[in-house]
């Protein structure tokens, strides 16, 4: 195995010979992190708030999100009427908008987290295998990736969820099947370059198996890009979920979702602006906070990803 360096040279190892793997786990520029600190903290706080609202929905919601009081149809928000029973107004069936918004957060957060975790695991596993194995495995996967990426992601998600039918698991499955490719590409690239590093060679020299090298030596070193990508992808996933629910293809009409509320409220925009405004606002704020968080993480952990 002494032919290691010679083997690495034709592969075009990046011209950063002294970059130790450990260095990538520490923030690349501490000043960058400090500068971003405040924005990151604010974004993280908002995101955690949404997670808390989703988890504690039954405790926080003032009423049952499905309870209809038909005479209260289109009742304006509490601060306009002076009556506190519907703080954000009532919808076209007299249901409390705030309660529906709170329960709607559950779907957005659950889909966001579950999809991102599942597609990160699936995508990075496949990417790492392809990147480490190279050869035919890599070629086949690349072909699959290219085919997969030829479909616009949202169109693919629409087709998949229409085929799978409504429901939370089906929705997550549809989004995972569209979302895994980006992880796969990034991780494959990372592993391709890392596998030629000295520490990998060293591990190989002492007789570590391929699986062990991938799991113990390569994966920890690609955690930073995965984390950054996952955070950024979460924003996309939340938007996709809202879009699918808006189109009536999400979890189904019987569960309150922000996208569904937005679509239902859209037709009453002139009579009752609060039906579409608040879910729209909720989507915007959540997605903005996740995006800011992702940006800060990227700047702090992996500035190289900025160019991707």
């Amino acid at each position: 195995m002494s032919a290691g360096p010679a083997l690495a040279a034709p592969m075009g190892v990046p011209a950063v010979p002294v970059a130790l793997p450990a260095a990538r786990r520490i923030p690349a520029t501490k000043r960058g992190l400090l500068r971003r600190n405040r924005a990151m903290a604010a974004a993280a706080l908002v995101y955690l708030l949404f997670v808390f609202v989703a988890l504690a929905a039954p405790l926080l919601a003032p009423s049952d999100p499905d309870a209809q009081v038909l005479p209260e149809r289109f009742k304006p928000p509490g601060w306009l009427t002076g009556e506190p029973d519907h703080p954000l107004g009532a919808d076209n069936l007299g249901r409390d908008v705030l309660s529906r918004l709170i329960f709607g957060a559950r779907v957005s957060i659950a889909v966001g987290v579950a999809t991102v975790v599942a597609s990160a695991v699936l995508g990075s596993a496949l990417g790492a295998i392809a990147g480490y194995a190279r050869g035919h495995v890599d070629g086949a996967l690349l072909l699959l990736l290219d085919i997969w990426m030829a479909f616009p992601p949202l169109v693919l998600a629409i087709a998949l969820s229409a085929a799978l039918g409504p429901g939370l698991p089906n929705l997550i499955l549809a989004l995972v099947l569209t979302g895994w490719v980006s992880y796969c590409r990034v991780i494959r690239g990372e592993v391709l370059s890392l596998r030629e590093r000295e520490f990998v060679l060293a591990a190989r020299v002492i007789g570590a198996s391929g699986a062990r090298i991938v799991a113990r030596h390569l994966m920890p070193n690609v955690m930073a890009p995965i984390l950054v990508l996952a955070t950024l992808e979460m924003a996309t996933v939340i938007i996709s979920e809202a879009a699918l629910s808006f189109l009536g293809l999400g979890v189904g009409a019987s569960q309150p979702t922000w996208g569904g509320m937005l679509n239902d409220g859209r037709q009453f925009l002139r009579q009752a602006w609060w039906l579409a405004t608040f879910p729209g606002l909720a989507i915007s704020v959540l997605v903005l906070s996740v995006n800011l968080l992702g940006d800060s993480l990227r700047d702090a952990l992996d500035p190289r990803l900025r160019s991707r």
């Binding site: 499905d66 209809q68 925009l269 002139r270």
Partner: protein, 573 residues
């Protein structure tokens, strides 16, 4: 989008950038090196040069390049000078026709399906067709039968109708309409090879006969007074032209109706022009345009800005908005439709009549009507609306009573309620959700499943929907039609629906259907309705009141109970 844009779009040049690019490229080929100086402005000044260039890629646009091109300019700058040259060729007989350049734009919720009369069953398409084609008979705005191409008719016996043709009716190419055209049109519809969706409406017809040029005889298999009513849906097409041109006739058809077909841009607009030689006098406007606008907020925005003159179907929730706008008029009419929820008689626990009655009792129809439907509906106690033959006012149906509904569920052994899926379509989603919300009170949890109408219809036909919110329209307003279609076991071969079947009822239904005397028929239908209400294969809901809206300068537009529109007498002030 405002009015001026509409005018521009109605011109054949509205292909937009694509059209311009194409024609400019062709112009380039034709004129060689001159292109360097061609600008957009230059294009508009050389319509004559463009006309042959456009003819090749878009043949339908070719015949009318000059006049309409200048028309929008005249509208945009309404000076006497620019209007003069346009008016001259367009109105050769100014005394007879509608006001020059008058146009009526009508929005419907769906686009035309086809131009071939027997090949569809959709009200929106029928509304367009009956302006192009004429029919033998017609129903007036209060749904009384009246002759159209037929001047008169007589009932020879219970199974034979004899029609006398109108002498002054002619095709839009000037040839007279004869009895042979009528026979040809019906025979074509009934031809099994054509597989026409409209054939079902004529299934009682055994033979058609053109006795001479002005006499048609139609015979039915069984005594069936409704065949006469159904004839008002069947357009008459010119036999010689259809035979000569085949299917291509229906690309640019001619009819005997008040308007001639001009252009159909799929998904965008259907343009019709006044037929000045229509037997019933020329129509009230020169151009009639139908536009499909499915989205209700877009529909109202267009109506408020004057982009459209008539919106044929408007959701009830916009009633207050229309009433509050001095430029708009809200027009209502009772409809010939009922909303219902089909209950699959094979699904547990809906197979128990007590459960079906409980569901009927658990819905507060008046609360839903007054809130969600803005009062624009009438609750019905059974499957018929009040205007239908066979409706019995003494049958009161199921009164709203949650306690009784719960007691019935207990008696049926499902006191803890149950969970099912309620299939519905997007337009009825809100109502279905309101119904599901009310059924929760008796422990019945329904998850509302919004489906495409076509998909839902297939699922219903196969008897695979457990509960479905649907709308049934019977424009013949005769209980016999409703009962035969939905509650006769004879229909279960094709329409599984609720699987409801009761052999002795089938006999009664057939007996009523084939009774020619209307009073006797009514009595038979009343008896059938009683049984159906007791068996409750549906949750009987309401008869919606149809709401249309028009600009206030539109005169003579009457919404009809059957949902059809006859627009040839409509004018614009």
């Amino acid at each position: 989008m405002d009015t001026r844009n509409i005018d521009l779009h109605s011109s054949p040049r509205s292909g937009g950038t694509e059209w311009r690019r194409l024609s400019r490229r062709d112009l380039l080929r034709a004129t060689g090196g001159l292109v360097a100086t061609v600008t957009l402005g230059a294009c508009t000044q050389t319509p004559a040069a463009q006309a042959p260039a456009t003819a090749a890629p878009k043949p339908t646009d070719a015949p009318k390049p000059v006049a309409p091109t200048t028309a929008p300019a005249a509208v945009a700058a309404p000076t006497a000078v620019s209007a003069a040259p346009t008016a001259a060729p367009a109105a050769p007989k100014p005394a007879a026709g509608p006001p020059a350049r008058s146009q009526l734009i009508v929005a419907q919720t769906a686009d035309m399906v086809t131009l071939d009369p027997p090949m569809y069953r959709a009200r929106q398409t029928q509304n367009i067709h009956q302006m192009i084609y004429d029919t033998l008979v017609h129903r007036t705005d209060d749904l009384k039968l009246q002759g159209r191409l037929a001047e008169s008719w007589e009932v020879v016996d219970d199974k034979t109708f004899r029609f006398k043709m109108r002498a002054n009716a002619q095709w839009q190419d000037g040839k007279p309409v004869t009895a042979r055209d009528v026979k040809f049109s019906y025979d074509r519809t009934l031809d099994p090879a054509l597989k026409a969706p409209r054939a079902g409406l004529l299934d009682m017809v055994s033979s058609t006969e053109a006795v001479d040029d002005s006499t048609v005889v139609i015979r039915t298999v069984q005594p069936d007074p409704l065949t006469l009513v159904f004839l008002n849906y069947h357009a008459i097409t010119p036999m010689d032209a259809v035979k000569a041109q085949g299917e291509s006739f229906f690309q640019k058809p001619i009819g005997a109706g008040p308007f001639t077909f001009e252009e159909w841009r799929k998904g965008e607009r259907v343009v019709l022009k006044a037929n000045l030689s229509y037997w019933d006098g020329p129509p009230g406007v020169e151009t009639l345009i139908f536009r499909p606008i499915a989205d209700s907020s877009a529909l109202l925005a267009e109506l408020e800005s004057g982009g459209i003159d008539i919106a044929a179907e408007v959701p009830p929730s916009s009633l207050s908005q229309i009433k509050g706008n001095p430029n708009l008029q809200a027009l209502t009419a009772p409809s010939t439709t009922v909303h219902y929820i089909g209950l699959n008689n094979r699904t547990k626990p809906l197979d128990n009549v007590l459960v079906r009655r409980a569901l009927n009792q658990a819905i507060d129809k008046n609360a839903i009507i007054s809130s969600v439907m803005a009062g624009l509906a009438v609750p019905v106690p059974g499957p018929l609306f009040p205007e239908a033959r066979g409706y019995d006012p003494s049958v009161t149906g199921y009164a709203f009573n949650v306690a009784q509904a719960k007691a019935l569920l207990k008696e049926a052994g499902v006191e803890n309620g149950f969970s099912l899926t309620l299939d519905t379509t997007a337009p009825n989603k809100e109502l279905s959700e309101a119904i599901a919300g009310q059924l929760k009170q008796i422990g019945v949890n329904l998850s509302v499943n919004v489906m495409e109408l076509g998909v839902l219809t297939t699922k219903i036909n196969q008897g695979q929907s457990d509960m479905y919110h649907n709308v049934w329209g019977d424009s013949a307003a005769d209980g016999g039609v409703t009962f035969y279609r939905h509650f006769s076991g004879a229909q279960r071969a094709t329409f599984k629906d609720t699987w409801y079947s009761r052999p002795e009822l089938d006999t009664q239904i057939d007996q009523a259907r084939f009774t020619f005397d209307f009073e006797k028929r009514r009595q038979l239908l009343v008896a059938i309705q009683k049984t159906i209400v007791e068996d409750a294969p549906w949750i009987f809901l309401w008869q919606p009141t149809s709401l249309a809206a028009a600009r206030s300068n539109v005169k003579g537009f009457v919404p009809r109970a059957d949902g059809y529109m006859f627009l040839n007498k409509v004018t614009k002030a």
